[in-house]
Symmetry: C2
Subunit: 651 residues, 2 copies
Amino acid sequence: MASEASSPAADLKLQFAPFISALEAGFWHQLTQKKLNDYRLDESPKSIKGYYSNGDPVGLPTRLTLEYSAFDIDGPTPARCCPAFGTLYNTNTIDAFKDTDKKALLEKEAKEIWEAIQSGAAIKNPSILCRFILLTFADLKKYNFYYWFCFPALCFPEGLKLNQRPALLEQIFSAKQVTVGVYDPCTLSQHPGWPLRNLLVLLANQWGSKVDTVQILCFRDRTLQGDRSVNHSIVFQVKLPELPNSSVCPKSVGWEKNAKGAMGPRIVNLSECMDPKRLAESSVDLNLKLMKWRLVPSLDLDKVINTKCLLLGAGTLGCNVARTLMGWGVRHITFVDNAKISYSNPVRQPLYEFEDCFGGGKSKAIAAVDRLTKIFPGVNAEGYNMSIPMPGHPVNFSQATLSQAQRDVEQLEKLIAEHDVVFLLMDTRESRWLPTVLAASKQKLVVNAALGFDTFVVMRHGLKKTAISQSVPSGSAPIVPGSSLFSNIPGHKLGCYFCNDVVAPGDSTRDRTLDQQCTVSRPGLAMIAGALAVELMVSILQHSEGGYAIASSSDDRMNEPPTSLGLVPHQIRGFLSRFDNVLPASLAFDKCTACSPTVLEHYEKEGFNFLSKVFNSSHSFLEDLTGLTLLHQETQAAEVNYNLCMETKNL
Amino acid sequence: MASEASSPAADLKLQFAPFISALEAGFWHQLTQKKLNDYRLDESPKSIKGYYSNGDPVGLPTRLTLEYSAFDIDGPTPARCCPAFGTLYNTNTIDAFKDTDKKALLEKEAKEIWEAIQSGAAIKNPSILCRFILLTFADLKKYNFYYWFCFPALCFPEGLKLNQRPALLEQIFSAKQVTVGVYDPCTLSQHPGWPLRNLLVLLANQWGSKVDTVQILCFRDRTLQGDRSVNHSIVFQVKLPELPNSSVCPKSVGWEKNAKGAMGPRIVNLSECMDPKRLAESSVDLNLKLMKWRLVPSLDLDKVINTKCLLLGAGTLGCNVARTLMGWGVRHITFVDNAKISYSNPVRQPLYEFEDCFGGGKSKAIAAVDRLTKIFPGVNAEGYNMSIPMPGHPVNFSQATLSQAQRDVEQLEKLIAEHDVVFLLMDTRESRWLPTVLAASKQKLVVNAALGFDTFVVMRHGLKKTAISQSVPSGSAPIVPGSSLFSNIPGHKLGCYFCNDVVAPGDSTRDRTLDQQCTVSRPGLAMIAGALAVELMVSILQHSEGGYAIASSSDDRMNEPPTSLGLVPHQIRGFLSRFDNVLPASLAFDKCTACSPTVLEHYEKEGFNFLSKVFNSSHSFLEDLTGLTLLHQETQAAEVNYNLCMETKNL
């Protein structure tokens, strides 16, 4: 094509200046968005729109521009530009891109143009003559865009003879014969641009028998130094050849040469010029959306991504939970922890590094936020370096300690209210008590994970329907804690972490040997439990009833799963030595020291006064309150053996 | 105590300068090592040795020094120093430290001194008079050391009367009566040091009835400006009081005051002055050793820590495997990968961050090494940015590509030979072929992990006994691939990743859509599979037969486990939607395209020539070689349906 335009030997043959494709970064960005949000894996042809102007200064190549607006077919065309409609073929793979039959694509488009010429449709709508093809492959992992442009042009077998060399309009102003005007984007004084080609075929086909020679006005509407002028337009006469067989589509040309001047695709890498943060965001989106497009069409990703997660504990479990949440695209992650990073942490707590341990160690909650931001700048993470008051850990040493505890409770209440899911990821049993009470009262979904040496429990707490009205009449209440005989337990009747216990939480940190202070567990355990905690949350979110969903049990493994992602168990209890998980489900215990109606009522009526009594008291306060003390006496009298219940606890 | 020495009012009463404990960082470091390696959770009293000198210049307090040599009871004492023997009580918790009955400890020690005085043992061995107690708690997570020193001194109920103020030896040189010398660490001109106290009780007890007044020479051996001199020694007379009841141990004193001058323990934090890298190493050690001390005494940690691991693939699986290996204390980790880090990686590949994606992305293998070093500087990690040649991916385009493939094969052979365990963590099936062949030939343990959307397989490959001799006579060979009917399969008869396949690996990367190019899986899956791959390796290492151990199956979950860590399955196949794992075991397939005797023999005889044929050929080459082609024909004829076998593959 380019040689047609540049060969000086073709004196009396009309040659055309081909379009150069001008694909702006905005076009590629928009294509990325379309691919991610609309097309996905759909490879069918799409209509797009470009434009060209005919007012360029001399020296500029004839450009067909595609920018961000290309996908808005009905949108406006920039002033003094001519729209050009095209077809986008965006392939899913580089191999499909390479293997696309370019000849066939061109011929298909040429045939349509030819048919519009023959039928006369192109007379009514000449834009049909000026169509293009764009073949693309967008490698959205690397932001490499491969593309090949084509401007189909039907050919006269013998070419076109010029009766007269093109001359500038200003030199010839009196036209006598049939004159045809074309809006010409070319700036060359001896050559018209590409749009004339198919127009001439139209003329030859429609009027070739009547008209032998036609005068062409290539209209160029240029503004030079503020003065609009059409004097740079060119005029020439051309003899219209006869088309050999009007029923057969003529040969066509049109694929653009690449940067090396050879026939081949072009490639553009935009990873440098796109904002890296946006690049990261759309890349992460892509990975997630592929799950939906390809495998789980009903997956509600937005529900997951928009879930606000509060992580109580930023240790082994907290770090692994945060990483899995990031993998799921969760943007809003808040950490609460009062510990500093010590030298033993980084090899097991995957948000920390060696340097975080210097000078006594950074605050875990703060360092975790820094790390998430380094991993993915689009995350909205916050960290609170604070303590969670605990039963049996008195706060009444002084007015100052009491006020601090009150502030800590208020902060935790606020945080729980502001989040959708509360993860309990601490390393003591009693630190889970306060958030269990607060989340139950505020009806927030709680996902709880705890580690033993080679065993773990990951569970969702029962989600109360309303804090007060769910009071279970004592007659109908189950009195056997830890029972897993019940099946089909709805979410609002499920137990919490404390429901299996018949003693209230107290100070378990006193007299712990070193191995109890730091969680001594097989290193892979926290990764497994952390990952499962998040996957459990995601599965629950996919259930139409969310946290109220009936608990799946091990027996349900062979049944139709309740969500597109599978089961929504109450508990996952894992045994690494056997590489086994079981899925027990158990009812809420009406004498539970954390989620029973009595405890929630006292908290809701008395607030911090009630809580501080719990912090400052021994076991017996909560046990008396909930009726556990009475239960102990009754069961002792009846010689019921609770050892089994106790053993299944503290996995 | 201090007031005894400093009160100016006690004119005629003899007062003593107490020891100051001088515990050097070396002592604490050695205590840390002893705790980690010897004492562990043992709280029983330990003998230690300190020393004091009597040559200090005026102004220095009387110090009893404990340094790194303190635990070497029989070791030398520094020149011109006097040894002092003591008892170390190192508690496991801060609460035990606080709750230790200090009075009882002192009285126990005092009683022993008193008995040695009474029996005369102290005359033969006066060092018994100069014993000390050290009570400690070492918080090895924060490097806080709590301690309290005690130098038990028996008391005369009424104190001691001086007949004459102490005078410098140079002033009084003629002694008349009984003179007793003591090696005196004190530098005060009016007061002796602590060691004299128990000596005087000894004198009073043994000779009190015969001697009323005794002259004391506090021998001080000082070197001043190069001249040794004893002229700073002091001399005084003291009247020996009668001890009220010689059969009862006198009252004793001796606990050191703390830095505030009050009775209480001292604390020293050494995290600043210890080398952070050594701190990190001993902290990581501690966490691991606690598992052994407390929970799995038979755990062979050294076997785990010293295992050299080769990770083929540094993507989602590779990053998670590396992190779990770090948690287990594995020091030698090598990565092989040829990919660069793209923007979608950091949220799922936990060794990379946003900035690693800039400029086209860092090499994964290299960046992974950098990250491991940032997590734990003690790691010995290496990265190889290289490709692994694959069947169906021709390498014979040119001499250059062929030579490169040969170099890659040689490098991989070398790496596999140098490591103990090979992890296959790639994202294509065919890239696993070459390392499967090489590792089988070199009899290296292979742990293989592969992900689906919500399913995974983690498996160990069968470990060949010897590459040639294990040829299975075709008569006895199992011909049903994928069978799990066989139980008690020994490690050398287990299958590899390819044993279940009845087609040879080929180019699966062509025409993969984007979702196949990047692994589309639930984000928690890689963490679970990566963690399980390492835990499987550790369990295998704990088995006395290692990779030759009989494969555990799901049925073995109720039986006595074969290792201290539990089962050693052949495969763990996980189903995240059901939160379930099954443990199939299957025999090696005698027509396997990777580990069959035929393939190994060809590789061992022909080397790269054979391999390059596989790379450059289609499926049929390996299928013809192994007899799969024949099998296909036979089975087609017999209408055997292999669909089931195929389906269980590629989980």
